[in-house]
Symmetry: C2
Subunit: 417 residues, 2 copies
């Protein structure tokens, strides 16, 4: 891994300055005096350094950065004893969770090599995945529960770029991925902050319409898919910006094209086929087909990476149930790019998707509240995992079904009606 000086990066580094501004001001909406934890790979340091500078210029308290290194991560998979795989740095996740619950904002830089773990033993990969998921729960819960403002943005890493553009030279691949990231993240517009305001207005409109409809369930029909997905009692659709429990309105995902809510953990029935590969912990899982009965996956297969997928849904009780449902038009900028990013943040925003595992307690009406008991009673799922996978396409029709059984077209051929 080489960290290039800014002058050798094969793209316009001014775009990194803009992305840093969007991340701090729109993504996090970081407040004066607020502390911040950044996590990201060393390769993303050209962006991370800029984000840290922008954060301080905007009056941040203290910015702490947890840097990762792919090669260092691989030493464990390659050399650790089996017993080691069941251990995790609990102390770190616990401490991060405490910081998030104490008003520290959280920023994740996504630039991962999608195939980092592709050559590693899937049983060892799953074993680490399970112990890490369980240990990470204290750091993940304040994020899924929106205890604090958080944001995730991307950096055009080389290994990722190679995967998205396998036929290009290294420099051309990074440049192409950079262009895609900057465009999809709206930082190539004249005024990126203003562009995000306009985009937010559109998402708010869709979210409001879905909330007015107050559907009991959604019926998905597409080749290989015939799924009736019940929505949680008192669910609330969200899109783009979200007000965290510390009172700060943030835009967690940069980019984001979705409106999303919490399904009912026990009211999902039928079959569904994934429309794009899912990259989970460095392994590609493609061709997923599952059958739900009363909320739970009872049959599952995948053309590629089946073993990792089966291990994943065996993580815990809630790993076989849904925690999120999201609607994205097939004509979204990411889908229009025609690229497969092998990165959930991008691919999920190209397409309607669902997520296995932990639900967002934020996606409930005020009268339900966000307490674990209330969320559970309303049908919210609980798990140590939260894994999105894509089920949208130009062939997807979705009907909303009201409490009285009336049907309202929501999407036709992948587009909002």
């Amino acid at each position: 891994m080489t960290i290039l000086p800014d002058s050798d990066l094969p793209f316009d580094v001014n775009m990194l300055d803009r992305l840093a501004e969007v991340s701090i001001r729109v993504g996090l909406n970081l407040q004066e005096g607020q502390d911040l934890i950044i996590t990201g790979p060393i390769e993303a340091l050209p962006l991370i350094r800029r984000i840290s500078a922008v954060a301080y210029k905007n009056g941040a308290g203290v910015v702490s950065t947890i840097l990762s290194d792919d090669e260092l991560q691989l030493t464990r998979y390659k050399h650790a004893s089996d017993e080691s795989l069941d251990r995790a740095p609990d102390w770190m996740f616990k401490a991060m969770g405490e910081a998030y619950n104490d008003n520290t904002a959280r920023l994740a830089i996504s630039a991962a090599n999608p195939l980092l773990l592709a050559d590693q033993d899937p049983v060892r990969v799953a074993r680490v995945g399970k112990s890490m998921s369980m240990a990470a729960k204290p750091a993940m819960e304040p994020i899924t529960n929106f205890a604090t403002n958080w944001n995730i943005v991307s950096y055009p890493g080389l290994a990722w770029a190679r995967q998205v553009f396998p036929d290009k030279s290294d420099n051309d691949a990074v440049a192409a991925l950079a262009d895609a990231i900057f465009s999809i993240s709206r930082v190539d517009r004249d005024d990126p902050i203003e562009a995000w305001k306009e985009h937010q207005n559109k998402l708010t409109e869709r979210q409001n319409w879905m909330n007015e409809q107050n559907f009991h369930s959604l019926h998905y029909k597409a080749p290989g898919t015939d799924l009736v997905l019940g929505l949680a009692d008192g669910h609330s659709w969200k899109g783009g910006a979200s007000t965290s429990r510390n009172g700060i309105t943030c835009t967690p995902n940069i980019p984001t094209e979705e409106v999303f809510t919490t399904p009912h953990a026990d009211r999902v029935n039928g079959v569904v086929r994934a429309t794009k590969p899912l990259v989970h912990r460095g392994t590609v899982i493609d061709g997923i087909e599952v059958r739900f009965v009363d909320g739970k996956i009872v049959e599952a297969k995948a053309d590629i990476g089946e073993e990792v997928f089966l291990q994943l849904i065996d993580t815990d009780e809630g790993a076989r149930k849904l925690g999120e449902v999201a609607l994205v038009p097939h004509s979204s900028p990411i889908s229009s790019s025609g690229l497969l990013f092998y990165n959930t943040l991008y691919d999920e925003n190209a397409s309607c998707h669902i997520a296995l595992g932990q639900c967002y307690s934020k996606c409930f009406k005020e009268e339900i509240g966000q307490s674990p008991d209330a969320v559970k009673a309303a049908g919210g799922n609980s798990s140590n995992i939260h894994v999105d996978w894509m089920i949208g396409s130009g062939d997807l029709d979705i009907d909303g079904i009201t409490k009285d059984g009336d049907r309202v077209p929501v999407m036709r051929k992948g587009e909002w009606t």
Copy 2:
């Protein structure tokens, strides 16, 4: 900052493999199943990755690495509000401290740019230094108290190499620093592990002699120095290997040439002049001269960096008192190299030195114990800082003074008698 691939490093990378072995097997004596926290700069990744691999091959539990980046660190000094400077990531230090107290081993990679902060406002540097020292206490105490096995080793970083070899090209400077580190750390010997055993035997001999003498105080005489340094009641001299409270015998400093113990915080009188520059938080402090009365610095000056030094000794009550005294022969390999390393780990092992601030509670006889109350009653100092500075030279004579006032020559012209 460029992280070069192994093939482009201007030194023999096999030496890094040997240094990793020495660090894990001699330095830490890492136990099967034991967790490990590594801290170090990204530039040292070629060593850190090897250490992680060696740790796992030796049966480590989980190895966590906290990577730092100089440029990222500078964003704070350059852009943060004044209020920010008084904040610190307490959550991180607290969590690390808990891990160390829970049998996690600790490894620090030293490769810092000695002049990183040289261009920053000394008042801001001191303000960060103070808030960081206070926040770091929970992570520092288990180390100074030897709650767990720990180790510090070095990596030949470019900025550091430039400082030590200002007249060489970048590559030649790194190569020369690498040679010095590998030689002084004894990894260029046929069998480095065996070489460390032999060296340990020599340190043990000196330590045993000093313990048999059981001096009440030491009298230092050299140009500009006339200091009577009282030793703590029930003090015990240590050197090289040390058995931590988790029962593991480690060799904390690689390299190490010293035998050291705890002075009495209230029984130090006279004047002392530093013989080498001290690098503290990125600033060089040179020409220190201080006067002690009853343990406390009452007059202090420095030719260079005086402001930073005065701020340092004002950190807290204990910052004006001594916490460590160490004896190193003037002919030690580091001193013989004739180099000034601008790095305390090296320069302190070239020379007799003393440290301001926190004492090592480990340096007491068993009948005293290591409880804070017992250590304090015996004369052990307490502070948020622990800063070594060099007072040894070829002109230094030291007499031991027994309880009855008898004098025994300990060192003449900087050498053991």
